[in-house]
Symmetry: C3
Subunit: 169 residues, 3 copies
């Protein structure tokens, strides 16, 4: 089933927008969380996101194996939040990003229910001084391009408002 990609910056309202897209379909919904609680700042962010969602969401944790989580979501509409943290986890853990991306694409093709993927746009600032940050920025851009090419719908969010890059609003 075709999927949707929601792109945006930090605190752009992209998660909220993605939740609204999923809520167009009947509950229950699957929330596929890729965040790992490395520190207090991240734990606070995860808690704030969970508090905003209600009881209609079943949360699946998938810091690395996103393909398996999308399979486990079965016929539920699924929100993946977010691809950029998943990529961070893959890179920090020394995993094969190309193989993981191919597995994600196969899992998306196999889905029988709607899927919305959230991703950060990180390439619109000045070139980072840190070489690892530059490699990450490149990898995130390549991943976003690749999924945008396969998505039926791509929205770019700024200040909570969507621009349609591809497909429908």
């Amino acid at each position: 089933m075709p999927f949707t990609l929601v792109l945006g910056g930090a605190r752009s309202g992209k998660s909220r927008h993605a939740e609204a897209l999923i809520a167009r379909h009947p509950a229950p919904w699957a929330y596929v969380a890729t965040a790992e609680a490395w520190d207090d700042e991240m734990r606070d962010r995860i808690a704030a996101h969970q508090a905003r969602r209600g009881a209609d969401w079943r949360t699946l944790h998938a810091p690395l194996d996103l393909a398996a989580a999308l399979g486990a979501a079965e016929a539920r509409p699924a929100l993946v939040d977010c691809l950029t943290l998943w990529l961070t986890n893959l890179m920090l853990g020394g995993h094969d990003v190309v193989a993981a991306t191919a597995a994600l694409e196969a899992a998306l093709d196999a889905r029988a229910a709607p899927t919305v993927l959230v991703a950060n746009e990180v390439g619109l600032g000045i070139v980072p001084e840190n070489a690892l940050a530059r490699r990450f920025r490149d990898a995130a851009g390549v991943l976003n391009q690749r999924l945008a090419a396969r998505a039926a719908t791509v929205h770019f969010i700024a200040a909570g408002l969507p621009l349609v890059l591809k497909g429908e609003s």
Copy 2:
């Protein structure tokens, strides 16, 4: 009276675009400046902005009390440049951002003349290494979302050219 939010990056032409929006209304206009001249670099920026504007503008300085300045602008069309520096001033001074935002919203609701707010989009680069920069980035994104939700019109500016996110061009 409904207000307009103009979002954009550094040197995107957002101030010039906002001035053009205000100039659709009869002069005199109020220019509400939130910048504080902390250093020479900032003094130069302020001077360059002032030199571009003509005698039809009355400048009000409001590094912190934006609500009072919007009241003082009375029936003049008012340009606020910019919300992101105002937020910086609030955070650096340890002020209550939530209370200040509520006061700004009340002042906007009370305006009897058009208002255009300029704000920076700062969340589209790589995650800053500095924790204060991350907190600021989050606060700026939340502020932009909140005002975009209340605005009648929101424009995103890139290379001097506007994209309509909401409302009219």
Copy 3:
């Protein structure tokens, strides 16, 4: 002849999009490369870009004298990739950016074949801590605005997908 400006972030697919715009016109095409191979990372990027292009492209190297290279491209449709590296080269070499920009504009006006310019949008992240990075960010924004004002067509690329800021798709 009117020219096109393609703006986007790092790894946004802007080069690929610009190549597709040029390929609407008959080959052979001129590829005007502004990159200088300062280090291995940059050499790898240049090699990857060249490998993607085929034999229909004649490459001209123009780290500084873009106006001369556009003249040498003569009647071939020409892609300039990218203005932001050219600006970097000018600034690092202590050259006169204003004079170089005027020469570029004159060369664009004199072109008898289509030209597509690629540029990075770098102003949508947090303010850089480094003063040189801030100056560069300002100069890049000013250059993008100036060329966008003269361009017949301006596209903003995110995740490989174009938004039309001006002109045609």
